[in-house]
Symmetry: none
Subunit: 214 residues, 4 copies
């Protein structure tokens, strides 16, 4: 789950009156994902989501500012399902997470929503921030966990300078996530075991070059 997500626009004052239905929240996010599957991003409408969730449109607008915000929350929950399984070696761990990520991008709701909200975010600062907070930064944990595990195994040296370490982690994250997304959605080619292996070889080879030669 998206714990401590503090998403949505929390009501400022806690006063009297009928409390918000928590079931509505769940129903709306689930309905949003189903609508993404059925209709795709463009044809998804908030009125339709409201109907599917058995909720009034006003209830929806009371909680989210618009389509983009709603969809970010709906798909963020899916990204949290990603995890880094311990397969015994760094290479195997990377291959595993690449394939997991590819599987996530294979689901129609993620596929259509992810690029769309990123596109929206290019002209919408707050949305960009929401995406960073809810999705991007949260998933960098995978890189960090992988590195720690590899260092524990002795597969990677411990980088002393924290700034260099951070920049390297960012680079790995952009290269990995970017390559998988580009392969899957732009080139529209399959991300299979063979490709994951080839990519991992490239990444690890490059990583060695970055750490040895300044």
């Amino acid at each position: 789950m998206v714990a401590g997500m503090q998403s949505r626009d929390t009501p400022p004052t806690r006063a009297g009156g009928r409390p918000r239905s928590t079931e509505a929240d769940t129903a709306i996010l689930e309905a949003t994902r189903q609508a993404l599957v059925d209709l795709g991003w463009t044809k998804l409408t908030l009125g339709d989501v409201a109907t599917r969730a058995g909720v009034a449109k006003t209830t929806l607008y009371r909680r989210w500012a618009g389509k983009s915000e709603l969809v970010v929350d709906a798909v963020a929950e899916l990204f949290d399902e990603l995890e880094l399984p311990d397969r015994g070696s760094l290479a195997a761990d990377i291959e595993g997470v690449v394939l997991q990520f590819a599987a996530l991008l294979g689901r129609p709701e993620t596929r259509t929503a992810l690029m769309a909200v990123v596109a929206e975010s290019t002209t919408d600062g707050p949305l960009r921030e929401r995406i960073r907070t809810s999705i991007v930064e949260r998933q960098k944990r995978l890189v960090l966990e992988g590195r720690e595990r590899a260092q524990a195994r002795g597969e990677l040296p411990v980088e002393s300078d924290p700034e260099t370490a951070g920049r390297t982690a960012d680079l790995i994250f952009d290269v990995t996530a970017g390559a998988v997304v580009h392969r899957a959605l732009v080139s529209a080619e399959p991300v299979d075991v063979e490709w994951a292996h080839r990519f991992t070889t490239l990444l690890l080879g490059g990583l060695a070059a970055t750490t040895t030669a300044p």
Copy 2:
């Protein structure tokens, strides 16, 4: 230029009737790019583009099936401006093209449009094909040119198996384009000389690893 682009839906038979205005085509594509700058993808409307181009809405719909197709053609022209400058070494060439690509993604019309049409293409097969034809496949030339030039310089061995060569080129393309896009649009961090240098080191290091070790 987008030579021989055979885009749009060309009238099948060349019979009688007033011929289509080529000036209209130019005006529409230019107006589309300007509208992308001013309004972004979501707020761009075909009616507005038509007005800007001094053209009737019907003229627009006669040539393009919808917003996505139009925008793909409009931005495809920009991608054709990319070129691979000869900077003397493979590393310098890669850095150069990475920075060029980053500059292209820095332009608001490309920034907002590219992700949007890719998002659309996830639920629209013909559009996906159009993107591949007009943008993706066309730009792979940069990878191929770079490799040939490096082989001529003796920086890279000549790969004998054409299939392996093709797969490697595809991998390089996805990794490079994907990393730049992810860095620029998803992570929303600058793609500057320093990052380009670090990325190039990673890529060349990885490339060496892929070619030496199967």
Copy 3:
């Protein structure tokens, strides 16, 4: 007024939700009449009516199925202004109502609209019924009132057979309304006091012939 007109498409069930604005109704019908005056039937557009009434197009379409239905309701209100003044004799009463009807047909909104909706109704059954209900049947009251008054004065015998009485009333109605409309709109000649007098003489003479001779 068009009391109890039960026109428009009344919402079937009375449940929750914001009630329809009655002010909008009034404004729309008035705007329709004004648009008929300014533009005539053909150039009248529902978008323009909506603008004049200060109302969104959807509000208009929520209440009426199309241009014809709207215009029927708008002019039906005018027909209800007709009344049968007591001028002391049957002949004078008839002349009076003929001139009133002619004056109504002289108003541009009625002039242009009446024939147009009748023309539409020839290929539109529901519309034909609406015209009958809202206009034709309602105005037959003038014939019935005139007859009752004449019978009270002793100018006309009381017809015992209700069916014969009904057929005669229908005939009088068709002849009178038809003659005035044809004179005013088809022949495009004035319906003045002189013509009204001549027509009344013809009608009353014919009426005597119908009642005496079977």
Copy 4:
């Protein structure tokens, strides 16, 4: 036939060049009538008529100013089919022509077109004149022929004052045509033998009253 109709906009100067196709004229008018049957007045479009006639739209616009003019010409030909059969008595003649007229109004092309062009003519002077010339005035011949025949039979006295005679003929024309049209199209009731008989009785009775009493 509509002989000497001098309708359409004849080319002013007779110079060289390819002459207009007379087959096109025939085909267009026939196509117009068929389109009226199939689509009714409102949904009839000039483009569709052109297609049906196997003719280019420009050919159509070269000859007629618009939809109304075209339709007037197309239906005027049908009105010329009316004639006054000699049935031996004035009453029988009137009943005959009333039923003929009713039959004409029963045809869908006439039914939908007649009221429509009259409606148009209320805001279009030249069109009104065209209708008068092509249809109204042409059919008054039926009244005049009927009177002459009745006078020859001795059923009607010869009116000495030509002005009075003219006004009476106009009145009869408006009353008859108006009553039939109103019965058939507005009241939407059948014009059958029984009605025609009742109407004729009324008309002849009234006629006697007008001629005897000033």
